[in-house]
Symmetry: none
Subunit: 198 residues, 4 copies
Amino acid sequence: MESKKTDRRIQRTQEALRNALVELILEKGYPKITVQNIIDRANVGRSTFYAHFLDKDDLLVSGFRAWAFDLSRNVGDGENTPDDGHIIHSQDFFLHADHHRDLYRAMLESGGGNLILKVGQEHIHHQIESHLVELLGGKELPIPLPFITNYLAGALLSLIKWWIEEDIPFDALQMDAMFQAMAMPGIRDAIMGNSNTR
Amino acid sequence: MESKKTDRRIQRTQEALRNALVELILEKGYPKITVQNIIDRANVGRSTFYAHFLDKDDLLVSGFRAWAFDLSRNVGDGENTPDDGHIIHSQDFFLHADHHRDLYRAMLESGGGNLILKVGQEHIHHQIESHLVELLGGKELPIPLPFITNYLAGALLSLIKWWIEEDIPFDALQMDAMFQAMAMPGIRDAIMGNSNTR
Amino acid sequence: MESKKTDRRIQRTQEALRNALVELILEKGYPKITVQNIIDRANVGRSTFYAHFLDKDDLLVSGFRAWAFDLSRNVGDGENTPDDGHIIHSQDFFLHADHHRDLYRAMLESGGGNLILKVGQEHIHHQIESHLVELLGGKELPIPLPFITNYLAGALLSLIKWWIEEDIPFDALQMDAMFQAMAMPGIRDAIMGNSNTR
Amino acid sequence: MESKKTDRRIQRTQEALRNALVELILEKGYPKITVQNIIDRANVGRSTFYAHFLDKDDLLVSGFRAWAFDLSRNVGDGENTPDDGHIIHSQDFFLHADHHRDLYRAMLESGGGNLILKVGQEHIHHQIESHLVELLGGKELPIPLPFITNYLAGALLSLIKWWIEEDIPFDALQMDAMFQAMAMPGIRDAIMGNSNTR
DNA sequence: TCCTAAGCGAGACGGTACGTCTTGTCTTCCA
DNA sequence: TGGAAGACAAGACGTACCGTCTCGCTTAGGA
């Protein structure tokens, strides 16, 4: 019973809403946006909005999934240079944030932080996990992996936030180099089992 | 012209509001709280509320500052000697979070994260800064201090969030030990100027 | 674009509000009524109220206009022949006030007086004006028409106020007869140009 | 126990409040005035205000009594020319209103109307009453005296209101002449018992 | 002359109503 | 039949006043 034309129409409506949201986020920041703003911008009826999404947040995450996919694709490209010695490809995050500066800024200074944090944490988790599988089969780590990934994702996101919001005059590569300098010694110790704190 | 009695009255009112807020955060989570809820609980008039605070967030921040002050005074005040080799007293944060588990949980799963992050960052910033003044007078760091403190505060908060929300079965001292293990090598390199990344 | 069904819905809402107001005026007097009271009674949302009316007063006026229209249609519409020799149909006002004694009392002892005065003045103005057009085409009056109508409306309202508030034991027809006795000689002189004051 | 000095202090405070009220009425109209406005203007503490008056209205009437006394004194002067043939000295009201144009305007467009109406009604009542005692001892009137006085006071006040608020370009004497022209025939008939309405 | 009580200013406070704003539901009509 | 239009109930928001209150300062009049 579902026609393709209808599907396409629905698709168009949802995209119109997502685009309107992004535009508005860039203009005034996520929390100041109202449903009315969105549907006005998207030329969509109020009831239509609620037919597709639960609320503003739902629209945001729906859009975020696609966007995070884009991140993972770009980040995945980095895997083509697996021998840069970096256990985590933090560079990709800094580059991604650099390219989407405005959107990051808008989302970070809003409530989007948690979302980005979670996505980032998952990515890092997977990256390190696959690295570790190579490096040390089933060898037990002195520090649990989720600890490490949460540590790194938190540090990374915090830095991106600071970098973007304060307009710190480093480029993505400089940021990444410093991040790696801060993070790698600890990671190496942790993985090697050298948990000597001083 | 300002009488002490009046000051004390104001103090009492503000504390009543802060206490009401904490109670309510524990009961239903920060975002669901209404200004009306707060003033009902605190037995305070609506206008009085707005005479003291801009809005709900302002009350939270104001309480947080006092509370963070309490953190730095009661917990961090040399419970361990300042020369325990820890440049940042991360232990204090884990202990504090442990003591106020419910409040932290309520705030973290709400919008309070940014706030805690900011306060934590400031504390860490001050702690490290004073340490550094001792260690190396005006010596230039290869990595800027705000970079380091944002890195550390982000990592720390992210870990506390994970620890509290997932009910990870480590105690505060274990968490701190692992955190120090992860963080110290990088910090030492950064401060010593040994920015050899690999 | 405006549908008839929607119009009817709006009509229903506005009437619910007007009815609620009248009920409440009878119960506790106009000035003690709260917008909240009205919308509770009318089962209407707060914003809906303000979508239709500027404030409590506006609702009152709006109702008053319809009500005054009702006055002019139901009562004044030739129940007596237009040629009963009365230039102003003051009888209608007394009858109307008699039928709605409670409402008049509630409104008069509140701030509604000015409103009634204004509405009454307009009615009288129109009545006399149309009479005069018949009687004397463009003939200039020695006393300006607004003077006359304000004079009459003030006197009429003041009498109704006195009659209702003091529960004066005359019926509407007696009141009207006396009013006409007081007013007509002056009016006749004024219109005939016989401005001999003594 | 009450000392004269203390009395004088109280007097001064109350007058300061009354003066402030009048100033403010002229500036922004009675209903827009707040107690805060008054006490700021009068340089008086909030509690002091409430120590002397129940509320804003109470302050107004307290002042109004003195002012009405002034009216009656000026009106009384008119009695020196009792043989102007006027049964009611409406001229005095028009003159009084003319002299205090601003205050009248401010009070009329506010809630003060009822007050003025009442005062005016009483004055007219007394005037006519004394006239009538001369004219016809105990002779019964075909129309009750309160009817006449309410009729006249209402008409008079309504005209003054119109005259002042609309800035009608007649002077007080013209207004009075027209008023007398409108009112006297009816009054004369009523008093003479000639209640023939046409 | 001192001292005690009243008048007062200052302003914090609990309370209530306001008019605005946004949400999510629902109904009507058009394409 | 799906979606645009938009009326609606619900209820939180921040503002504006109100009338009560507590507090110290000033000051006048009896000791």
